[in-house]
Symmetry: C2
Subunit: 226 residues, 2 copies
């Protein structure tokens, strides 16, 4: 197999059969040693983060498969910290798709004039560009279409899938007495043009609370998998 990409939290390898292998690292995004799912830098390394993230990702991708949501997932090897996936290309140079059930993070930083911390939001979906230099700017359906990143039909599919996936994750968390505030997803196009959920779904992709208390990613993963 061939190493093709080194991401913030993963190494990516191409396999001989045309599929890809994602190696989960123990690095998590954040700033000043504090975890922040919206941050662009690797903030800290936590022993066991890679394995716990992969275990939760496996759990959620298998739930999504049962619900017939298209994803890039094929199989996971927890001990090796690897996940095998089908090839997919990202939109433009990469998008993040966020679904929000309560106001937090960058939503408040932008819309704090109109929204209170923790205010209920109606499975609100927004798309941001992966662009560290420009602080991941939000981008509209019209702009994505105009700039050739995503057609309007693809946007509508992406939005619908995002809400379906977020609802499934929210329900799974609720079974463990945790409330999902927001979740960040990534999508790609498969070789036949189908839109697939890609990347991972771990504690590092979401914000969850229990009785008003924020739950760290590793604690969230522990709660979910015990």
């Amino acid at each position: 197999m061939k190493h093709v990409y080194s991401g913030k939290t993963k190494e990516v390898y191409e396999l001989e059969d045309g599929n890809y292998l994602l190696q989960f690292k123990d690095d998590v995004t954040g700033e000043n040693g504090e975890f922040d799912p919206g941050a662009n830098a690797v903030g800290l390394t936590m022993a066991g983060a890679g394995k716990a993230g992969l275990r939760l990702t496996k759990f959620f991708f298998e739930r999504l498969q049962e619900n017939e949501i298209p994803t890039h997932y094929l199989e996971a090897d927890i001990e090796a910290q690897t996940m095998k996936v089908v090839p997919a290309t990202v939109f433009g140079q990469g998008l993040e798709v966020i679904c929000r059930f309560r106001a937090a993070g960058s939503f408040l930083r932008r819309y704090g004039k109109y929204a209170a911390d923790g205010q209920q939001l109606d499975a609100f979906v927004e798309v941001t560009l992966k662009d560290d230099e420009r602080q991941d700017p939000p981008i509209s359906r019209d702009a994505l279409d105009m700039l050739g990143i995503l057609t309007k039909t693809e946007y509508d599919t992406l939005k619908k899938l995002t809400q379906q996936i977020a609802k499934i994750v929210k329900e799974e968390l609720a079974k463990k007495n945790m409330e999902l505030y927001d979740i960040k997803l990534e999508f790609g196009r498969s070789q036949n043009g189908e839109i697939l959920l890609i990347d991972e779904i771990s504690g590092g992709n979401m914000r969850a609370y229990t009785q008003g208390r924020y739950i760290e990613p590793l604690e969230l993963e522990k709660n979910m998998l015990q």
Copy 2:
């Protein structure tokens, strides 16, 4: 008449007949002594700016009336630097609606990864919140609806009106050999709920170029009205 509001570039008075009077000042927005239509601060004072801005506003609002575009305009008194308008309330705490024919300014600051300086854009419309503290963040149709600022139907009306108005302004500038790159508009609701163009349309609301050279607001106004 009663003074009701002091804006960056205007004073606002309520008249006895229920209408309002806008007094144009000689202040223009910008930073470090340079004009910038997207800036939130008054950058400089230019003698004659108020009168020239009002003359151009009168010119455009009368063109829009002829084209049956609903606006708040009633009449203008150039010598007194005042414009009489019908009452209208802004959406939320105020929105700016931008129509772009070429990439410049905040569009490039956000989407420079995908767009080149001066690249043609297809009468692209975007809405930003008037919020100096949060640098006027862009906001989507879904978010405007969710936060109770604008319904989706109102958004669609606003977008359509914006493109119609921008096209008229673009055509008028083209007659004087100037090319409109982008324009920033404000809208409000009339007392019967109709969406009206409000505020002004002067050099300070738009970016125009001639043969690749940027045209300052006062020069633009002079070109248009001579």
